[in-house]
């Protein structure tokens, strides 16, 4: 478990976040949030997706900070390096792949 957390913790956050955003989008469209304009060009769907996106972004940052802390038992250079890459990929993945949440959201 420790190995999983260190190697792919950030990527797991990405997986959860990406799926959560997609699922929230599907659910929101099913409920008709895409047609309810609340703020300028933003719809109720935006208000659901943007906080979700930021939440997972924050989670990915926390995971990276935890995994890059030195002094883990039996720390091999490789695992640290791969874990760092995974952590950054988690942050970058969430940040970029979730960015379309900023578009004026509709369900067309």
């Amino acid at each position: 478990m420790a190995l999983v957390k260190r190697l792919v913790g950030g990527l797991l956050v990405w997986a959860l976040g990406f799926n959560a955003i997609y699922a929230a989008h599907g659910l929101g469209c099913g409920m008709g949030w895409g047609e309810r304009v609340v703020l300028g060009p933003l719809t109720a769907l935006n208000l659901a997706l943007i906080p979700l996106w930021l939440l997972f972004l924050a989670a990915a940052v926390v995971v990276l900070r935890n995994s890059s802390r030195p002094g883990d038992a039996g720390n091999e250079r490789l695992l640290r390096q791969a874990g760092l890459i995974g952590g950054w990929a988690g942050i970058g993945g969430i940040a970029l792949m979730g960015a379309p949440a900023l578009l004026p959201a509709h369900c067309l």
Partner: protein, 220 residues
């Protein structure tokens, strides 16, 4: 590949009744420009990476390398910058083609069946239905509501824009506009059984006068 496609583009080869390289409407035109940009970026990437490969083959003597330059510069910065340009452009264009804020001049029902298309529009004189021919006014945006009675088909008029699937139990929307009057070929793009090959149709864009006649109930 890119030189050959390029050759094809400048030659007469790019026109054709079903050619996406001969756009006749804003959606297809936008996609054509996007394609050109993507081709340029792809050619650049290919030249850089395969060029480095050939250079490395020719050097043939051990050399110290800056791994950082290769991995961060070549592996991250280089693709990320090109991808960002391409993706932002494509998403913006996609929003425009989807046309969420656009109000179409006309809405037509397109119902697919094995293996033909039924196009129905509401006229002042009642609903008008034609098989395998879709009449639209030229120069105006038409919403086509695509559905299917049996299996999945796909509505595609290459010279006017991308495709949208006809799925039973669902109504999908696509906006098309032909800039000039004419006849535009369309095909079923999703494999739909033994008649798939034969399931073509045509979009006929009428000029204003001809469209008025149709509106009055005249025959095309």
């Amino acid at each position: 590949m890119f030189p050959i496609v390029g050759l094809g583009l400048v030659g007469a080869g790019c026109s054709g009744p079903l050619s996406a390289l001969d756009p006749a409407g804003p959606a297809a035109g936008g996609i054509f420009t996007l394609m050109s940009v993507l081709l340029a970026l792809a050619t650049l990437s290919f030249v850089v990476i395969f060029g480095l490969f050939l250079l490395a083959l020719r050097r043939n003597r051990g050399h110290s390398v800056s791994l950082r330059l290769f991995l961060i510069g070549g592996g991250l910065v280089f693709p990320l910058s090109l991808l960002t340009v391409a993706t932002v452009y494509a998403v913006v264009l996609g929003e425009r083609i989807t046309g969420a804020r656009e109000t179409p001049a006309l809405t037509v029902e397109a119902t697919a069946q094995q293996w033909r298309w039924q196009f129905t529009r509401q006229m002042p004189s009642g609903s008008v239905s034609r098989t395998d021919i879709l009449d639209i006014p030229a120069g105006r945006t038409v919403a086509v509501m695509v559905s299917s009675d049996d299996v999945i088909h796909s509505f595609w008029v290459p010279r006017l824009g991308g495709k949208i699937d006809a799925i039973p139990g669902t109504r999908n929307r696509i906006l098309i506009r032909a800039d000039v009057p004419g006849r535009y070929g369309g095909v079923c793009a999703e494999f739909c059984g033994v008649g798939h090959t034969q399931m073509s149709f045509a979009v006929v864009a009428h000029d204003a006068a001809a469209w008025d006649r149709l509106e009055q109930g005249g025959q095309p």
